[in-house]
């Protein structure tokens, strides 16, 4: 290695996989000191900081036909699909909450490399995809030595940085059900600036009856706990009710009640609690208008 400046990961051996089964057998042969490499936008910084020091990387980037967006009732996203590809996809935009999420992750450069499968497999509590996939009821398709499994996202992410993946098992696809009619969702995160993780985020998916009363609501907070947190009290407030300003205020209060943020460099617990309440109101408003057929642009907020 040259004498230039720069941070270097611990040395590791490189293994290029040409198929998923080959990647799985490589990883199982190499054992616990081996890791899969997807886009690398979380793993590479962790390796450069020596917080992760794998002895082997099994590269998934050169496996053909792992990046795709297919729409046939379900929206199927190949695990290696980059965030930027989802953000640019007309098929994905039919489920607006997916577009909100993909287009707001970090910055253009990171979205060009980072993958949805890598993000979910890492299960970083501050990641953007978990609350969105929970709100939409997505399933994760995995492949391992014992074949394929389909796992509901709520049973896939178990804890911070912990998923239901077995050793040498990987994600191959994420499937999102197409929302029924009169359904709308929105995802908003509050960030200090684009490349950093969010300080708080909220995902809302709302389905209305014909008379525009609420048929179903799914509301998840991101970032503030070890995993995304479902706000059942807020959902109960909405179900069967007309969605009006009283409900909006009730949802804000329920979110503030349930949020258990910790004070850190991203802000005090009190600040984050208020932010989560405000984000919930904004996301609910956007979801409600979308459920009524309005076109609403939603974007992450910066403070």
């Amino acid at each position: 290695m040259g004498c230039g400046v720069g941070m270097y990961p611990r040395a590791f051996a490189y293994h290029r996989a040409n198929t998923y089964p080959e990647a799985i057998s490589l990883l199982s042969e190499l054992g616990e000191e081996a890791k899969f490499l997807a886009g690398g936008q979380s793993l590479i910084p962790l390796m450069k900081l020596r917080l992760s020091t794998p002895a082997h990387l099994v590269d998934l980037n050169f496996i053909p036909e792992t990046s795709y967006i297919r729409s046939n009732g379900l929206l199927r996203l190949g695990a290696m699909t980059r965030h930027s590809e989802i953000a640019a996809s007309a098929d994905a935009a039919r489920i607006p909450i997916l577009h909100d999420c993909a287009a707001g992750i970090a910055d253009p450069q990171i979205r060009h490399m980072g993958t949805i499968g890598g993000s979910i497999a890492e299960a970083d509590p501050t990641g953007d995809w978990a609350p969105v996939l929970l709100a939409t009821g997505a399933t994760v398709k995995t492949l391992g030595q014992n074949g394929e499994r389909r796992i509901d996202i709520s049973e896939f992410i178990l804890d911070a940085y912990t998923t239901a993946l077995q050793p040498a098992e990987l994600i191959i696809e994420i499937a999102v059900p197409a929302p029924v009619s009169r359904s709308g969702g929105a995802y908003i995160a509050l960030k200090r600036c684009a490349p950093v993780y969010a300080s708080a985020s909220v995902a809302v998916q709302l389905t209305l009856h014909e008379d525009h009363t609420c048929r179903d609501a799914r509301i998840y907070l991101g970032v503030l706990g070890l995993t995304a947190t479902r706000v059942s009290q807020a959902e109960d407030l909405l179900r069967g009710q007309a969605v009006d300003s009283r409900q909006f205020e009730g949802v804000r209060e329920a979110v503030m009640d349930i949020a258990e943020p910790a004070s850190d460099m991203r802000g005090s617990a009190e600040y984050k609690r208020h932010a989560a309440g405000a984000l919930a109101k904004l996301a609910l408003d956007a979801a409600w208008r979308r459920a009524r057929g309005e076109h609403v642009e939603v974007t992450h907020l910066y403070a």
């Binding site: 290695m1 040259g2 230039g4 400046v5 720069g6 941070m7 270097y8 990961p9 611990r10 040395a11 590791f12 051996a13 490189y14 290029r16 000191e33 490499l37 690398g40 936008q41 590479i44 910084p45 390796m47 450069k48 900081l49 002895a55 990387l57 590269d59 980037n61 050169f62 930027s84 970090a106 910055d107 253009p108 450069q109 990171i110 060009h112 490399m113 600036c193 684009a194 490349p195 950093v196």
Partner: protein
């Protein structure tokens, strides 16, 4: 831990020229560019995927080359700041940054140029919001961004004037 780590061959086209090198697997794309190939126009700023000084285009998509392993760019095409000027003529985006003084110390400029190029490919007539989103992954600690904004707006005008100059 293997005692001897096999080097990995990386073939890639940089600014139109084909290169082939054997590198340690942990070599980052920016280190390949700067240390192996002496293409030092691409800068290392934060080295933690934040500042964007190391931005290059990989297969026409902007990436932070401090956060991409060299092997991930195998068989790819790279455009760095060295590939912008042609025959002694600044690229329209470079000319706009020069005309508008879109920099002070200049350290972040190569990254801003590459992100601007990416932005204008996607949005030839960017709105203020699209400019903000387009350079959200690049940090400048000198200017306060006003002149960078002006430069990007001027670059969009230059593009309109000379669309055939696109790299």
């Amino acid at each position: 831990m293997p005692e001897e780590i096999a080097r990995v061959r990386v073939n890639l086209k940089i600014n139109g020229k084909q290169y082939s090198r054997e590198v340690e697997p942990r070599t980052l794309l920016v280190q390949l560019l700067r240390e192996e190939l002496s293409l030092t126009g691409t800068h290392i700023g934060c080295d933690t995927s934040y500042c964007g000084a190391c931005t290059v285009l990989l297969n026409s998509k902007s990436v932070k080359s401090c956060t991409v392993f060299a092997f991930q760019a195998n068989d790819g095409e790279i455009l760095t700041v060295e590939g912008l000027a042609k025959d002694g003529q600044l690229h329209p985006v470079q000319q706009a940054f020069s005309d508008c003084h879109g920099f002070q110390c200049g350290y972040c400029t190569p990254g801003f140029l590459m992100s601007t190029l990416q932005l204008l490919e996607e949005h030839p007539h960017p709105t203020e919001w699209e400019i903000r989103k387009g350079i959200a992954g690049n940090t400048c600690r000198c200017t306060g961004y006003q002149n960078i904004f002006k430069a990007i707006e001027a670059a969009a005008e230059n593009y309109k004037a000379a669309p055939s100059d696109r790299s």
